[in-house]
């Protein structure tokens, strides 16, 4: 392709054909982005629409995609329903406790594994990461039996109490949070440690006064991750809790609001939306930390 094949008297234009091509590509990008956004946002938007409908409007089936007589009755009913509030309370308690435990375990472990090179630390880190791969769907049955067995042995009722979840959930959160923290800690320059140690800090002080403040974004990201995982957990509570007052939100909504053959979809959608609210709110305000938590694992690993 030589320049000689070009026509010599092209009209003078300020924007070349390259710019036009690029603009066209941009327009198509937006078109497809809108298509995908519609795909991704249809369910939550639909949840919202349905939650504002009365049962009458739902069964009238005029149009599923719009509300003509919006009402907050569903919200009022759900938010005053003692069952639902119990679910919410249980979820909140479990999540907060699990987050605390996770942070208390992960941060020191990450610090030790990333900074204090000791015999086997590398294998340990990899090993922990590998165990993260073992899914809850493989563990729930043996754990069920183990807890039943512990009940016989100690007399403490584990099954069907929400606090058993506080024991189990850390298996889901601790390995990955440790991994995230290891990534963040590793990116802190060694000179910082050395300066602090020369200044007379012990390892604990190094951790609390230097690492934690500097790695705060990572800690926030890990906390958000732990909270979201705990809040959304479905399998373990399904298996381990059955009485209505012990259920957490996801299980509560799915099992109790769907009674028999009559589904009160207005309430179900309201319940689901409210159940999705805490992670969504956190996401709205702390989106960058949320995403950092996700990508930290793979890109730093």
């Amino acid at each position: 392709m030589t320049a000689a094949t070009l026509p010599t008297n092209m009209p003078r234009t300020l924007s070349g054909s390259m710019q036009r091509d690029r603009r066209r590509a941009l327009v198509w990008s937006y078109v497809f982005l809108i298509v995908f956004v519609i795909f991704f946002l249809t369910p939550p938007v639909y949840m919202l629409i349905t939650s504002l409908k009365t049962s009458a409007e739902i069964s009238a089936a005029s149009t599923p995609w719009w509300v003509f007589a919006p009402t907050l009755a569903n919200y009022a009913e759900i938010l005053t329903s003692p069952a639902y509030l119990t679910f919410f309370r249980n979820s909140a308690l479990v999540s907060l406790l699990v987050v605390s435990i996770t942070m208390l375990v992960s941060i020191p472990a990450a610090f030790a594994l990333s900074r204090m090179r000791f015999w086997g630390s590398a294998t340990l880190a990899t090993g922990v990461f590998l165990t993260y791969l073992i899914p809850d769907t493989l563990l729930f049955i043996p754990l069920f039996k183990i807890f039943a067995f512990l009940h016989d042995w100690t007399g403490i009722e584990f099954i069907n109490h929400w606090w058993v979840l506080v024991i189990i959930y850390p298996t889901l959160t601790v390995p990955f949070c440790t991994w995230i923290m290891i990534g963040y800690f590793s990116s802190i320059p060694k000179e910082l440690d050395e300066a602090a140690l020369i200044d007379g800090a012990s390892y604990l002080q190094l951790l609390t006064r230097i690492f934690i403040p500097v790695a705060l974004p990572g800690i926030i990201a890990a906390t958000i991750f732990a909270f979201t995982v705990s809040w959304a957990q479905f399998l373990y509570p399904m298996a381990f809790t059955t009485s209505t007052d012990q259920l957490v939100l996801p299980v509560g909504i799915v099992t109790t609001l769907i009674k028999g053959d009559v589904f009160n979809w207005g309430q179900i959608m309201t319940g689901a939306l409210l159940g999705a609210a805490p992670p969504l709110i956190i996401y709205a305000f702390l989106m960058d930390y949320y995403i950092a938590g996700l990508t930290a694992g793979a890109t730093k690993g």
Binding site: L26, P43, M47, I58, L133, F140, F144, M269, G275
Partner: protein
């Protein structure tokens, strides 16, 4: 540390205490202590139960007798079991492929948009991942409702006919895969977007000058440079999708007629709902092969990284 192990009579107590304290202060001890809780959790609540699962699978239903591989033999004769195997594999493979593809495409779209606007697109597109899957699957359940499906409403308006989304086995499988793809694609998008941003712009400029068009740039530069992250995400996702419980349980509960059961939901049905723990454990163990495969790949990758870097 002979002071501690030597016969105590002659050694003054002050010195013994000192060396004990020294041992306590040693870096490796502190480090080990700091990782201990993590280790305990992992060993007691992950490793031990997984091994225990193997043992459980060898017991009979009332867990009194040892039946060896009897449970496995029983499963292999059941037609439902083979359906579950097929369904789990098809489900995992197709969902992951679509998730990766959509994630890659959407990541490219977002990357093309000028940087200032990217944030809000990214924000909107990640929402499916943020909503607890149990909740969002309820929304899909409602969208697929046999009588009131909003999709069917649109289809009928457009001149088509209503689809039995959850009633017909093939549509039900499609629905399960669709929901899974809907839920998981944003994750891939975010990962791939980060990877796309890490490819230096100058490489694309050099390729422009070398004569590459957009497709060639994708094939020769973008994809090879993203090769690592694509492998990691696909591997992770295979494991997670293969072990998926929430979506199938809420959407179809394995139906119609067990045609959408995957290992996780079937294990739950057998182990918890029908109270046959050993058989349930047996079913859930079939997730082990894929785990082992993934572990091999990861270890190989870690090995490669440490020998290279």
């Amino acid at each position: 540390m002979t002071d501690r192990t030597a016969p105590s009579s002659r050694v003054p107590i002050a010195r013994r205490k000192n060396s004990l304290r020294l041992w306590w202060r040693r870096k490796s001890t502190i480090a080990f202590a700091m990782t201990l809780p993590l280790l305990l959790i992992v060993v007691a609540l992950v490793l031990y139960p997984s091994l225990y699962a193997f043992y459980l699978a060898t017991l009979n239903k009332s867990m009194e007798r040892f039946v060896g591989l009897g449970n496995f033999a029983f499963l292999f004769k059941r037609e439902t079991f083979w359906m579950v195997v097929r369904q789990s594999i098809v489900f995992a493979l197709s969902a992951v492929i679509f998730k990766a593809l959509i994630g890659l495409i959407v990541a490219h779209l977002v990357h093309n948009v000028p940087a200032k606007g990217q944030r809000k697109w990214r924000g909107m597109l990640l929402i499916p991942w943020v909503i607890p899957p149990a909740m969002s699957t309820l929304a899909w359940l409602w969208l697929f409702d046999p009588s009131y499906s909003a999709f069917n409403w649109l289809l009928e308006r457009a001149g088509g006919s209503a689809v039995p989304w959850l009633g017909d086995p093939y549509w039900a499988r499609f629905a399960v895969i669709l929901v899974n793809v809907w839920f998981g694609a944003p994750f891939f998008m975010i990962m791939y977007l980060a990877a796309l941003k890490s490819v230096p712009e100058q490489l694309y400029e050099a390729a422009s000058i070398d004569g590459a068009n957009a497709w060639q740039k994708l094939w020769f530069i973008t994809l090879p440079m993203m090769h690592n992250i694509i492998a990691i995400t696909v591997l992770f996702s295979l494991i997670v999708t293969f072990a998926n419980f929430d979506i199938v349980r809420v959407l179809t509960n394995g139906g119609p007629v067990d045609q959408t059961h995957v290992f996780a939901t079937w294990a739950f049905r057998i182990g918890i709902e029908s109270n046959d723990i050993p058989l349930g454990a047996c079913v859930s163990l079939f997730m082990f092969p894929i785990l082992a495969l993934a572990a091999i790949f990861i270890l190989r990758d870690v090995n490669q990284r440490t020998t290279e870097g």
